[in-house]
């Protein structure tokens, strides 16, 4: 089984290598037919290994499930990581001189389930991209980066060792950078890519240090060893037998790891890169910035949830961050005009829901929502891509009334928005219900302090309302009302304006249809545990938000319902000026410091070097004046010396 898992990781990796080197080989021809041929070849190179990986991942999940069954009590078959037996395999152990690194993979209920999510979404995106990027000269490298990303994410999911996980974790960051910057001709996209990499990297440094803390304390980087060492917990300061960890160590380690999670999963305060990352092609937003990579952070917390449960402080921090993040992001989503940015902020908000479930102690609910969210958010992004493809603009102010031209997209996106709002019978309804129940239970005495638990619960309910509001707003503004007449830019010479809004090609339509099924039905896997009281409350709250927006919209279908925010609208649209604050607080000082360093290096450090050279020259010039070839001077010196010696001999002799 481990060999199959390794194969599932290796196939997309090799596909990436082959696509990068071989798409245009031989000949390196460019232009027209050569590009088309290269794109076709690259599409095959990309899709076939991804499909094979998908099959392998599904097979692994199936065999694992049939072999071990699922433990009772969990709300979702694949949820609880720690109880389910796992299969591990180690390729080799690398001696570092300190804690060894074991290159190995691990299969358990969690990893096999998430791997299916990753590969299915990746496959859908690969197929969708064939249509979306038809005619793009750089499609071969683009599809190769998606393959590389798939391999990296599978490595994260299957990794048995935290450092192996970290390798995949960072490679995903690189792929995200490369893909956000796919259209790098535009400087703004390039900047967004750099920002995404750097912001997540800040978190990743914390993550790495957290791994150090855990690895050193447990004497191993293997996840199983670390979990085993941690459960053998001892009181603060007293380390017995060297394997158990004090609570302080756990707290430090989990807080550091939380930094990495905040970076990757775009949680406050490191969330600012995600909205900008929408500069990338839409399929990338679906793959990386909705369904998989941003889920990696949540996945890691679930993986190490045993540690987090033991560290009360970390749980409280996580709860507060989640509470602030979910409501803030939802409010920001309510005021955006760019459809993709609405979805981006919505992703931040939904990820915060998962974080909330984790803080409340329910990793099962988090994984459930992770999987349903992966399905419906990927669906929403792919639909948004189809809309943007048809309209030629990201802005909702340029859309409207599209339900007539795009009936398939309209139906699929309606399902997606319903799932986002948590309306029955979509998948989002069931998973959000699990989370709300978990948060509700956390209000009773538990690891969370009362204040944090209440804040979390209040915020979760308020966010349900705001989610209903922004989802309704986006839905209405895209598909209903009238399309405004927009002055199109002057066409290039030799072309004409073509206004031709129609459904996307089949390669784009089919993945949408395929993803609509799990977005609609996946929730029934956990239908048994619905808590009808909470469910009714949340649906009522969501409909309240939706109703408010609908009322605003009905009063004037042409203007933006976001005007109901009143004076706070600009604040929300700018996402509370976090970006500007970071620019003033961090970016500008670093750049100023860099300038200072260059000046210091030139004047002080190198100045000292040059100064020593000048000093040596000056000194030698001084010495030279004593040796100017003037015989009288030499004789004078000689006589003076003799005189001095004579005087000395007389006085001291």
């Amino acid at each position: 089984m481990i060999a199959l898992a390794a194969l599932a990781v290796a196939l997309p990796f090799l596909s990436a290598a082959v696509a990068l080197l071989g798409s245009r080989w031989p000949g390196h021809a460019r232009g027209g037919p050569a590009d088309t041929a290269a794109n076709r070849r690259a599409a095959w190179i990309a899709v076939v290994p991804t499909a094979a990986s998908t099959a392998l991942a599904a097979w692994l999940a199936y065999t694992h499930w049939t072999r071990f069954g699922h433990e009772g009590g969990a709300p979702f078959p694949f949820a609880d990581a720690s109880d389910v037996p796992s299969v591990t395999g180690t390729l080799t152990v690398v001696d570092t001189g300190s804690v060894p690194i074991s290159l190995g993979l691990q299969l358990d209920g969690l990893s096999t389930a998430i791997a299916v999510l990753v590969t299915v979404v990746a496959l859908a995106v690969q197929v969708y991209s064939i249509g979306y990027l038809r005619g793009d000269r750089r499609y071969p490298s683009y599809s190769a980066f998606i393959s590389l990303f798939t391999a990296a994410m599978l490595l994260v999911v299957y990794a048995a060792d935290l450092l192996v996980l970290y390798v995949g974790w960072e490679v995903m960051g690189l792929c995200s950078y490369l893909l956000i910057g796919h259209w790098w001709e535009d400087r703004a996209n390039s900047r967004a890519a750099v920002k995404a990499f750097l912001v997540t990297r800040i978190g990743d440094v914390g993550f790495l240090f957290g791994v150090f803390v855990l690895g050193t304390a447990a004497g191993s980087f293997r996840i199983d060893d670390i979990l085993a060492a941690a459960t053998n917990i001892s009181p603060v300061g007293a380390t017995a037998a060297g394997t158990s960890m004090p609570v302080s160590t756990l707290t430090v380690a989990t807080l550091l790891i939380l930094a990495g999670v905040a970076g990757k999963s775009a949680q406050a305060p490191l969330h600012t890169w995600l909205p900008d990352a929408m500069a990338g092609p839409t399929p990338i937003s679906a793959l990386i910035h909705a369904a998989t990579m941003v889920a990696a952070g949540i996945f890691v917390v679930v993986r190490l949830h045993t540690l987090f449960v033991l560290a009360d402080l970390t749980l409280n921090v996580l709860a507060v961050l989640a509470a602030l993040g979910m409501l803030g992001a939802a409010l920001a989503a309510l005021a955006q005009d760019d459809l993709k940015r609405v979805l981006a902020y919505s992703t931040i908000s939904q990820l915060a829901y998962m974080a909330a479930a984790l803080a409340a102690g329910s990793d099962g609910a988090a994984v459930f929502h992770l999987i349903t969210h992966g399905a419906f958010k990927a669906l929403l992004f792919l639909c948004a891509g189809a809309v943007i493809h048809a309209v030629g603009s990201n802005l909702m102010s340029a859309m409207g009334g599209l339900r007539r031209e795009l009936p398939v997209t309209f139906a699929a996106m309606t399902i997606g928005f319903a799932a986002l709002m948590g309306l029955p019978p979509t998948s989002g309804f069931f998973s959000k219900d699990e989370i709300l129940i978990a948060v509700e239970r956390a209000v009773s005495p538990g690891p969370l302090t009362d204040a944090a638990a209440l804040l979390l619960y209040g915020s979760a309910l308020a966010t349900v309302a705001v989610t209903g509001a922004y989802a309704t707003r986006a839905w209405l503004r895209t598909f209903f009302g009238e399309r405004p007449a927009v002055a199109l830019p002057e066409p290039a010479p030799g072309t004409a304006h073509v206004i031709d809004v129609h459904e996307a090609p089949a390669t784009m339509r089919r993945p949408i249809l395929v993803l609509a099924v799990p977005a609609l039905l996946l929730g029934f896997a956990g239908a048994a545990g619905v808590h009808w009281g909470t469910a009714a409350l949340s649906v009522a709250v969501a409909l309240l938000g939706a109703g408010a927006v609908y009322a605003m919209w009905r009063s004037d279908p042409r203007s933006d319902p976001a005007r109901m925010l009143g004076p706070f609208r600009l604040l929300c649209e700018r996402a509370f000026y976090v970006d500007s604050a970071y620019r003033t607080l961090f970016v500008a000082p670093v750049l100023a410091l860099a300038g200072l360093v260059v000046r210091t290096d030139d004047r002080a450090v190198d100045g000292a070097v040059r100064g020593s050279g000048r000093a040596a020259l000056g000194l030698s010039g001084l010495m030279r004046s004593a040796q100017n070839g003037n015989l009288q001077l030499y004789l004078t010196g000689l006589l003076a010396g003799v005189l001095l010696i004579a005087v000395g001999a007389v006085v001291f002799g």
């Binding site: 001696d95 001189g97 690189l174 790098w184 750099v194 750097l198 360093v597």
Partner: protein, 590 residues
Amino acid sequence: MNWLPIALLAVPLAGSAVLLAPLPVDAPARGRLLRLHGLAVSGITFLLAVVLAAGFDHADPARVQFTTDLAWIPGLDLRFHLGVDGISLPLVVLTTLLTFLCFVYLCWGRSDGPGQLLRPRPGGNRPRALVFTLLVLEVGMIGTFLALDLLLFFVFFEIVLIPMYFVIAVWGGRARRAAATKFILYTLLGSVALLVGLLLVWAQTGTLDMVALGGAQGTGMSRAVQIIAFLAIGIGLAVKTPMWPLHTWLPDAHTEAPTVGSVLLAGVLLKMGTYGFARIAIPVLPDGAAAVAPWLGALAVVGIVYGSLACLAQRDLKRMIAYSSIGHMGFVLLGFATLTPVGVNAALFGNIAHGLITGLLFFVAGAVKERYGTADMPTLGGGMLVRLPHLGSVLTFACVASLGLPGLAGFWGEMLALLGAFDPAPGLSRPLFLTFMAVGGLGTVLTAAYFLVMLSRVTHGRPTETVHAPLLAGVKAGVSPGDTAAEAVAGPGDTAAEAVTRPGEAVPESAGRVSADAVDTGTASVRTGGRAGPGGGGTGPGGGGGLRDVRAYEVAAWAPLVGLILLFGLWPKALLLITDPVVRTFVGAP
């Protein structure tokens, strides 16, 4: 097999000696012979190093193998003592590989590509002198890593300086003389300190045998003597490494050196300093190392952050890469400062990784400079991925490797150094080293920042952004120097002029105009401009810095580096397996 180390020194030495003999054939044939000669000699040396690695007993890398121990100057008890173990073996192979790749870069094909200094040109390019210099340089570099006698080490350490001085001073850029002088004076000054330290060790212990000294672990020397000796040796090595604040020779030397000079300087010469720490300073003087380690660590992390910040504000591509070396060598020094096996392993790994990655970076930066005629980033503009997609891709790869992406070689050195700092050797202050670790972690973010910002500036965007209307107008109208626009173009314009004038003997003024045209309209006009320019009649095919994408000789020189970066990144065990046992005996860990 004990003849191998001697052969490794003898082959390049003999190869350079042969070049002294007069060769009675005509110029084209001489050029061909010379290229063949350089390739053959460096290739044989590389093959010998591969044989050495293959014959090396990997089961026992801590044992010094292939030893040769001959009396050299019996009166002074100096011995010609050579050998390899797990620390020196990778460096020997790296040295021969990089030298061979430099020759591949110079000699492959017809040798008329940009950067191939062996191409004939009317003004005289001294191709024979270049081959001679590089081969002598190789002797010194290999000898440094093979020597097991302190003074023999010092001799080889010094031999390297002279050829490198000439490489910079003869084949360098515009300000080459000053850079070369600074390089040799600065490093000679460091060598004096090194020599004093080595002599102090000799005076105290009575032996120059590194193996014996390493085994003795500092017995026979008092703590005070060890500290003084460590300081003296450390300063000597730190100049070479370079450690902040002794680094200022490096940016100048790198910026002015020709491509092969930069590659060898970054890829091998810097490693001699860090190798000295691993081979001499730490094992021979453990008490001194323990006393100085906090300072070494502090200077190392200052170097990391300082180098990164300096990179962030650089305008010149080669200068930026030079400063990035300071940051990376900071990680290597931090690894040493922890005095733990993992830290020293990290340093040795980082050494090799830096040699491969920065070697590649300088190759690419050289290629950029030869093509555009300048390495000034604002002048380069953007859109390299449009104009030169393959070159831009290789540059991206090298930068990503250099910023320490896991899965590529650069990561393991940095990561293990930080891990070493997390848990330093007993006796060192843990909070202090935790601070170092945190600062080092900040440095990795800054490292990523400057590389990505550079990539964004140079490879992204549209190439048309390079049009600077006032600037071009200034040149065309012949505005006198002193005008700001003309000043802005003066630097790059002159460099471009140099690149363009090489084939012929263009008047500087007209060449300046040609280069301005080149910046203006891109590929096509560079070629036509280069050929049509008055006085550019002697332009050979591909001469004049025409913007052609990666060419065969460049692929040949770069592909092995790319492969090794991937190999060590994906399979770090390949290197750690050899170094770890040696390091454990040196640091005295179980």
